[in-house]
Symmetry: C2
């Protein structure tokens, strides 16, 4: 009987050295799904129909990015759903902790967290297989949200220093949650990074902090 | 002074006989936005990642329908945002009254209400300008949701008579809200229908009730 069992082929899984690529694809898929939900929620809470339409269109552009991610996962015999689930849970957790008390806090949260998640994914894609890197880079294309936030919120902030001060503080809090998320993500899947996790995490946080400062600067806020 | 005022041109609005077309475009735009929000919410509440991806894709296909609607409204010098706002408020109201207590109630609500709203829009498009009718019909294309519901929920209902009984009741309640919505919509914008509103409303309700019975039948439920 043991001999017969030995003849049963092992379940087909990704080759050992594709674990990093598969983990990254799952993380980026979770990011796309979570960004979609966030933008759709923002659209539903929009103060007017024109804004609702604009955000609905931005959200609608996201699901198409799932197609190449899914193809790359299938090519590696990976179960994307199973692999993405823990990342979705982490993202939902951050989302719940940064719900935003009013419309502008919502907008800043989507801008700050979305930008930092993109920074994280881009930094994690360095050194992975070229085809996976291309897929990931394709999924990180700006859908116009950042430019929309700068054009819409920028003038409001310039005219309302009290609001600017409150949103600067709020942005810092959201950024803190995003940095903490990055650390949890790497702790959950250390195969996402090459080399010693601590050094890799330091590099990720630095990329995210730098991107965050630039984005806040575009709004006229101090990070 | 009255003479000088008489020289002021009237604000440019749609020609009188385009009121019906503009109202319909606004109603359908509101329907697309509201369906998008509903599907995006369902996606976010999905019990597993595969379902979340499927619903996210269906939602993502909707915003593109806004483009021809917007072009047709612009061609009639209509402010789509302003005209759609009251319809969006009505739809949000129905949504709040049919939130659904669990996952399957959510799914049935989207299926029942979405189908009846499509019935309503199709019935209202009869007799309007051909180009507007084509735009509206294009926006009512099924995005795969109904087939997905039948394939996913159908076998569950066949195996669980108690759930089927509960969801049949729930479907009736959602249908009642949709019928009531149709009446409120026509009361709000009587220019949506030609001829006496009462007769027109009777025709709309009949189209919606017939479509509802067919859809419930596809699930093996009595409407």
């Amino acid at each position: 009987m043991p001999d017969a069992l030995a003849d049963v082929p092992l379940p087909a899984g990704p080759p050992e050295d594709q674990g990093r690529e598969v983990a990254l694809l799952a993380l980026v898929a979770a990011g796309v799904l979570s960004s979609f939900t966030g933008l759709a929620d923002d659209a539903a809470s929009a103060p007017d129909v024109v804004t609702r339409v604009a955000l609905t269109r931005m959200a609608g552009a996201l699901p198409a990015h799932l197609d190449p991610i899914e193809r790359a996962a299938v090519a590696r015999s990976a179960d994307l759903g199973q692999q993405a689930a823990p990342f979705l849970a982490l993202l939902a957790d951050v989302d719940a902790r940064t719900a935003g008390g009013d419309w502008w806090e919502r907008v800043v949260k989507t801008y700050v967290a979305g930008g930092m998640v993109i920074d994280l994914h881009r930094a994690l894609s360095e050194g992975v297989d070229e085809d996976v890197r291309a897929v990931v880079t394709g999924a990180l294309v700006e859908n116009g949200h950042a430019a929309w936030v700068v054009a819409t919120l920028g003038p409001v902030l310039a005219a309302e220093p009290q609001l600017a001060a409150r949103l600067a503080l709020w942005g810092r809090r959201v950024a803190g949650e995003a940095l903490s998320l990055a650390q949890t993500v790497v702790r959950t899947r250390p195969d996402l990074v090459a080399g010693p996790p601590d050094a890799a995490v330091a590099g990720l946080l630095s990329a995210m902090t730098g991107g965050h400062a630039r984005r806040m600067g575009r709004l006229g806020l101090t990070a």
